[in-house]
Amino acid sequence: MISFKNINKAFGKLQVLNQVNLDMAAGKSYALIGPNGSGKTTLIKSLLGLVIPTSGEILFDDKRITNDWKYREKIGYMPQIGRYPDNMRIGQLFDMMKNIRQGHDKTDEELIDSFKLYKIYDKRMHALSGGTRQKVSAALAFMFNVPVFILDEPTAGLDPVSVEILKEKILHEKQRGKLMIITSHVLSDLDELASDVVYIFEGRIQYNDTIEKLKIETNEKRLGKAIATLIRQKELLASVTE
């Protein structure tokens, strides 16, 4: 459904993405893992058209996304930091987003209900806590029944109850055959939510396969341990070839 072909991106001298090739299929959910500054966010942003790659192309439903914006109708995006205009009310924000995304008659307001956001529709954004803003971001991302979801650190800053609600929603959407791209540093969350692992390091994709296979290869039961073992193996390999 989505494919990255030889994507390179450099900010000045800094090479952030280096020959990235990646195919993503509907019905799977991908855990995007890598240390800080490894290029995860840049990869996501280039898919959203926020960052324009230096070279290479990105195909969405077999169509190039350069200079196109219609394809974003099929993407729900939850940013890492949700900052909204201070004096805007939650209700106004939802109304504005619905207006931007016209043509969605049936909106999915499940998260608004389960997070009880309808109770605070009149509250202004500057009065909200970080966690509540995160809930608003989540509710916005899931509002439009789209086939692709991009969630950048979805559970960061949420209380345990809300984390469970959000996880349930993600799993539910995944079962309905949606494509999920999730980044997180909480690997135990990803273990439950994702089916595939994409490990990025220094702008290159180091590993791309199912979680099951990674666990078998590394002989570990938990995703966190498996990733750690993977990194150690890679380092060992690198030191040998040097």
Binding site: V51, W69, R72, Y77, P79, G82, P85, N87, M96, I100
Partner: protein
Amino acid sequence: MTRIIKYIFYDIVRTRFVLLYTVFLWVSTFALFQLDSDTSKVVLSLLNIVLMVVPLISIIFTTIHFFNSYEFIELMLAQPVNRKVIFLGEYLAVASSLCGAYVAGVGIPMLIFGANQSAVALLFTGVALTCVFVSMAFLASVLTRDKAKAIGIALLFWFYFSLLYDGILLWVVYSFSDYPLEKITLTLIAFNPVDLGRIIMLLQLDISALMGYTGAFYKDFFGSSLGILFSGSILFLWAIVPLWTALRIFIRKDL
């Protein structure tokens, strides 16, 4: 697009900064009317405030607003809309709210104490300068990713057009005072929106006689309907050109 503009407009109008700006203009106009009841004299005193304060507030507020809404702009750009729509929507929302604050602050006391043609001209000049400097602020904002740097560039724009340019112009006039400079200064004035605003206003106030032959020449030119059309369209260009340049950069920018 209208709903984007509407809600961003609501948001800006409610910020403390814009409220204070309106109150400040309101109080100064009101106070000047207390000192003198002749509208033309009040307009002349207000002119100096308008030519300095309006560009400064417009350019600084817009730059800060742009960087404060950076994440929100990013989120809107992740929606199925053209970048152009978001950018122009932001511009129209910021420009209209600042123009609204200006018109409310200066216009309401004038309506109370009696408005004449020069008052209308002052309102027009202020609105035009707001639009011009908001569009310069957008240009400063897209030129860099760093908020402090962008504010620096914005201040530089203001400093140049409000102070430096006049110095250069004076230097030119003094150095070449032996030559007929009317047409050349007229052209040079068109390169500074603040000066253009000042000349339009001074000629409205019938004090151009104090400026001697040059004043008479300007009066002849700016007083004609062609002159008004000329100055109006030059001010319009001053709003459009920086905005268009900023839009070109914004469309290709990495966020």
